[in-house]
């Protein structure tokens, strides 16, 4: 059988387990005695091992196996958690990540055996004088599993065997093979039962031959079974080996089995084997969750654990989720978009009709349709939302590593990990955030001596806060470090020729700080491999802007800096103001619009040869859109101007348009890379009549 179709599940789960391990080991470092953490680590490591083994990734399996041994000893209390051990474990995780990446790239784990790491792990084991109990543990497993287990009333006894199958069994017996009945119970929380069952089939087939399955293999593959299925297996191996193979698959609650009693019975008797005669229980490897390899009866930890028959109690409640291919969601989203376009065209058709004679029931239906499409749109958007947790989870580990590397003491405080963003945004936001955090750690936080001089606590703090603010999500990266030295930036900019000394004198501190976002601008005095190669902040900025977001920085010298990233909640559908310039229609995102003004031409003043207007005490520069867009304005010179006041950060500008159409919900379509060069066009939308209107990016115009 081919496992490649389960590669994706394997990769997804491996990544989850690795992330989980990363987080838990960090916890372990700060709280080495926490039994729950240790158990969780053990479980995750064990699942990893099982999965890697099933998929045939031997190197990965070996490494996780040795890690598992270490965890097992920690759990038994024979080894204490030491800082060096944590370091080794983290290196192991990195090695596992490397395997995973290799597998993702080429379906092959690579050839790195990581022998050094395995040796280190074994050193830890031996150092902890654990070798003795190490041997004990498997021995016990064996003992438990190989208890004689006569059958009676077991599921496999009720399987009807036809004569040819019995012949096969007899034949196998004659060849000295053993015949077992095996019942495999899948965890209740398991989503992909069929996939699990398949993996069990595969695992069992490695040690023996499955001759009968109930329900049939086809039904099992089609997920036509409840929570358990029964196999009759021919094997040279011991029963325990077979059961172990089945249980090595994750999300398998337990596998029970016994040698099949057929020898002295005819097939008819087998069929009739009465359910009521349950003399002895079958051998049972207790396997709460997926953890089981080293039962440690004498350890207090065990006492806290729930009985093996009640799985999923010790595990944090997991949301019931379905993995959906993002392309399917995109398709759904596109359909919703089409629906909204169709609705818009109905609305425009009805408003034209209305001049003739109104039809109230028609209007009611349209309003109803409008509310349905709006709700549908919201639901689809919500489906696409994922918490940023999946991205920010890796940061504590990163900060820990940075702390060691840079030899600075620092702590990362995160809030709002549960804040949700569109999946596409979450996927993209990781790198910019990582860069800002590295920046804070490297440039922001001062060295220990400086901090002491300034009377700051020895441990530097970096904060990562995420929260929702209206239609935006704000992510702030804050540190209590040095802040940005504006004068240093100013000098650097002059020295580099980015600005002239005269320009520099006229620029505000904020303008200077914005220079940092220019390509190839780094003020770091020495280049480290953490940051400071001059590729960074400009990449951060362009990445955020490509997501229709903005990034801002506030800084106070000596006190620290705050980087604020502001991202729109949704990308695909926005509220926009439709306007006419010349004879072309354009959309302007409502998010950036402040007010609409009617301005007589006499109020236009010239400042530095540029047109401005005074509005409630503010001087606002005018941008004539017909000039920007190269079209003839339809309005005469002496008519009042229609001005759309747009805002970006604390800058405002007035966009002069010819005509207003009104507010509309629009679906953003990409223009494709062919027409990407135009900076102030951020996309296009299809209007109700099928025509295209371009979307003006007010931020790029200001």
């Amino acid at each position: 059988m081919d496992v490649s179709q389960y590669l994706e599940i394997f990769l997804d789960e491996t990544k989850e387990h690795l992330q989980n391990l990363n987080t838990r080991i960090l916890e372990l470092e700060s709280d080495p005695e926490n039994a729950d953490t240790i158990n969780e680590i053990f479980r995750a490591a064990h699942s990893l091992k099982g999965m890697a083994g099933t998929m045939g990734y031997k190197r990965m399996q070996n490494l996780t196996h040795d890690m598992e041994n270490v965890f097992s000893e920690v759990r038994n209390g024979t080894i204490r958690v030491m800082p060096e051990m944590i370091d080794v474990l983290f290196q192991c995780l990195d090695a596992l990540e490397e395997y995973t990446e290799n597998i993702q790239a080429s379906a092959d784990e690579g050839t790195n055996d990581n022998e050094a790491l395995i040796r280190q792990l074994n050193d830890i084991l031996n150092g902890g004088a654990a070798s003795q109990s190490q041997e004990q543990a498997p021995a016990k497993t064996e003992e438990a599993a190989s208890q004689p287990a006569p059958s009676g009333g077991n599921k496999w006894d009720s399987i009807r065997l036809d004569s040819s199958q019995i012949a096969v069994i007899q034949e196998a017996r004659n060849q000295g093979k053993k015949v077992y009945g095996v019942n495999v119970m899948v965890q209740e929380s398991c989503i992909l039962k069929a996939a699990r069952a398949f993996l069990v089939f595969k695992a069992v087939e490695e040690v023996g031959e499955i001759i009968v399955s109930d329900p049939s293999a086809q039904d099992v593959e089609d997920e036509k079974f409840d929570r358990d299925f029964t196999l009759i297996v021919l094997s040279d191996a011991e029963l325990e080996t077979v059961l172990h193979a089945a249980e090595s698959v994750s999300e398998i609650e337990k596998a029970t089995g016994a040698p099949l009693v057929l020898e002295n019975n005819t097939s008819a008797e087998t069929e009739e084997a009465p359910e009521s005669i349950k003399t002895e229980k079958p051998a049972e490897q207790s396997a709460p969750e997926t953890e089981k390899a080293a039962p440690a009866p004498a350890v207090p930890v065990q006492a806290a654990k729930p009985d093996g028959r009640k799985p999923a109690v010790s595990k944090p409640v997991v949301n019931r989720t379905v993995r959906v291919d993002i392309e399917k969601l995109d398709a759904l989203m596109n359909l919703v978009s089409e629906l909204i376009i169709a609705k818009n065209s109905l609305v425009s058709a009805s408003s034209q009709e209305q001049t003739g004679g109104s039809n109230s029931s028609f209007n009611e239906q349209i309003e109803y349709l409008e509310s349905v499409t709006t709700n549908l749109h919201e639901s689809v958007m919500k489906v696409r939302m994922v918490p940023i947790e999946s991205v920010v989870n890796k940061f504590p580990r990163m900060i820990r590593d940075l702390s060691k590397k840079l030899d600075k003491k620092m702590e990362l405080y995160m809030t709002g990990e549960e804040t949700e963003l569109d999946r596409t945004v979450v996927d993209e936001i990781g790198d910019p955030l990582m860069h800002l955090l590295r920046n804070s750690a490297d440039h922001g936080l001062e060295s220990a001596e400086v901090r002491a001089q300034r009377g700051k606590p020895a441990v530097g703090s970096i904060f990562l806060d995420a929260y929702q603010d209206g239609n935006n999500v704000v992510i702030e990266v804050r540190d209590d470090g040095n802040g940005i030295d504006v004068e240093a930036v100013r000098e650097k900019a002059i020295e580099r020729g980015t600005i002239t000394p005269e320009q520099a004198a006229n620029m505000t501190d904020k303008d200077i700080i914005d220079l940092l976002f220019l390509p190839s601008f780094s003020t770091a005095k020495k280049v480290t491999d953490v940051s400071g190669r001059g590729v960074g902040l400009d990449v951060v900025k362009s990445k955020i802007e490509s997501l229709s977001g903005e990034v801002e920085v506030k800084s106070k010298l000596g006190e620290g800096s705050t980087w604020t990233i502001r991202l729109p909640l949704t990308l695909a559908i926005i509220q926009a103001l439709m306007v006419v310039v010349g004879d072309e229609k354009y959309a302007i995102s409502l998010g950036s619009i402040q007010t609409l003004e009617d301005i007589p031409p006499s109020e236009i003043k010239l400042v530095q040869n540029k047109e401005v207007i005074h509005l409630r005490g503010n001087v606002i520069p005018l941008i004539r859109l017909n000039q920007v867009l190269d079209v003839e304005s339809k309005r005469s010179e002496d008519e009042n101007l229609i001005v759309v006041i747009v805002k970006k950060g604390d800058k405002t500008a007035g966009l002069v348009i010819d005509e207003l159409i009104g507010q509309q919900e629009i679906v953003i379509k990409s223009l494709g890379k062919y027409v990407k060069q135009c900076k102030f066009i951020s996309g296009a939308t299809i209007l109700g009549d099928g025509e295209i209107a371009l979307i003006l990016d007010a931020n790029a115009l200001i």
Binding site: E338, G672, C678, I692
Partner: protein, 161 residues
Amino acid sequence: MELSTKFGSQVPDDENKRSSETMQYIVIRLGEEQYGIDIRNIETITRMQHVTRVPKMPAYLKGVINLRGVVIPVLSMRLRMNLEADEITKSTRILVLNLEQEGNVGFIVDEVKEVVSLNVDDIEKIAENNKEGKASLINAVGKHNGELISLVDLNAISLEG
């Protein structure tokens, strides 16, 4: 234009190996000349419709249209070939090609005439020493019923000149 030399010989080379085969081309008209475009690259042909202009674009890029809910760019084949600007008539069509790099791109042509099958032996590759002007967009000439049809190199046509 450099790219045309790189990709230019692909189609004929490929076909020479199986000389008994025929290739199908859509024949279009630009002014007096006829051009053939490999039928495998054609997504659809639509009547001329309103093209939304995109500011600050080169002249040959006429704008964008809505093709079944997808926004696609539309180019003027005439301007791309350094011919005079289009004159929109009843027979003007937008030929939508599916290009490997850019996805769907529309081309405005004067007329779409017919589909012809050319025997591979009737397709003659053009030497590639002429590196400028429209010639670089043509990589072969096909003979059909005594007429010559210039075969357009699709790899060159969409790229910036």
